[in-house]
Amino acid sequence: MLGLKGLNRSASPAAGVTLRRRFGWLSGALATQTFGPLLVLLGFGLVFSLTTSTFLAAGNFSIIAQQCVIEGTLAVGQTVVMLTAGIDLANGAITVLGTIIAARLVSENYAALPALLLAAAACTAAGFASGALISRLRLPPFIVTLGMLGIVTAAARLYSGGQSFPVTDPLLGWTGNGLSFGGATITNGIVLVLVLYAVVWYMLTQTGWGRHVYAIGNNREAARLVGIKVGRTVLSVYLLAGFLYGIGAWLALGRIPNADPNALQTANLDTITAVVIGGTSLFGGRGGVVGTLIGTLIVAVLRNGLTLMEIDPLWQDMVTGVLVILAVATDQLSREARMS
């Protein structure tokens, strides 16, 4: 299969050096480790462009982009968490809680803006709770966020009374609005997601905070020894993730105008899939949001293309599963190669 050897990062350090020299202006934005995923994305795009007559169209691309907004946003939070060698299983549940809070408050005649802010605050608080347990009590992220998944899911169902709330308010649905031209619709949500990626990319690559996030995922003890406040940084990461899930809730309200307590149940695993396919290591310290954007697009393009080819949807899961395993295997092998 095309470019799979370089799925996660370039095969040899020498290739990496040449790449960096040739594309020096892109360094950071497009690290060598995002090159493999980019090739995979372009490869799938090429295949679907040749095998279907409907894939290569502005309208179809805008549909793919709209399908990406919610999980694409949750995946940004997941990326930052995974860079510290953590994991977040509660992201979908936290987002759902946000949608329920905002929609229910508005259905009870509260103004949309405070309802939305309260929902975002609740999501941020949930992230803070995970982060505090992980950084202060040193509990494993997997267990803490598994617990949060249960707690937050139950809270959302209790607060909703098991029912869903239709979204009619223009502010709650704002992210679904947009401009159409030539059959393509650029929603406010798509623009917002791209802005989020840009902001988090900047934070990760251009600030000391970002360096510390990578260093903690890379070598926690070394980070502590050089004086990085490891606990505080880890806490800030989960706090940021929670805030992003709050924005994800707003995006979800715009995408599907119905706040459903049973939505987004597989978002946690789907975002891990996208993050890993995008080249971020499960072991922390490597990767970034550019890769995650590509990883999210790979999954979405795959689903879209296979649907257009009228192939049984089960094959989408099959191919995605294969990609995840290949991505993790590439990461593992390249880590071993570098550490030897």
């Binding site: 360096r211 260093a215 050089v226 004086g227 570098r338």
Partner: protein, 266 residues
Amino acid sequence: MTQDDRKIIFEARGVTKRYGHVVALDGVDFELRAGEVLAVIGDNGAGKSTLTKVLSGAVVPDEGELRLDGAPIRFSSPIDARRRGIETVYQDLAVAPALDIASNLFLGREYRRPGVLGRVFRQLDKRRMRDEAAHYLAELKFRIPSIGSAVEGLSGGQRQGVAVARAGMFASRLVIMDEPTAALGVRESGQVLDLIRSIRARGLPVILISHNMPQVFDIADRIHIMRLGRRVALTTPDRHTMAEAVAIMTGAAPGEHIGHPSQDKA
């Protein structure tokens, strides 16, 4: 000896540390003088690593006093000690492998861009850090492929070299090296020793804790020998042979009575 006349930078007087009934340090004296590499040797359990921890701020002694440039001082943590200009290099490679060399050198002490970009947008001044890192490494004659290459692409010796260079770059008073070559091969150790020499040549005194006698006799100006929680001898590679030093260390030969540094005689 001229070395014994140099100014004392860092000293410990009568430092005692007990762990339950075990006396790890039994009133140990220690002094590091300007511009020297002082090796600390001792058998396992002699108190070498406890002394290192006291000097680097990781352990607070029960009794005794530390003095930095003659002034009594207490460290609450290694970070506290570092704030006073004491950097410590550890045996295991304390680097972030996926980050590049310049990022590792400045890790935890990043420069921000001047003006609004740095103050409000917190933007790193990557160029300045790279330039300063490259300049400093050239001064140390530490050869690396490129300041922008990831540390994981380096050899073990070069990786430890990055940790040593970082300490040398930020220490204003002295550097403590705790078995810096224990995880390295002979050739790689040589690279690290060369760096230690470069750091000394720039005027920073170095405390080298090591098991490796040939290394100690190769690089040290003076040798502090620990036994049973005390300093049993303070010598130089000229005064004693390696075999004699080992004999003192293990108790096979008597140490020298060492009192105040002014009475310090061979």
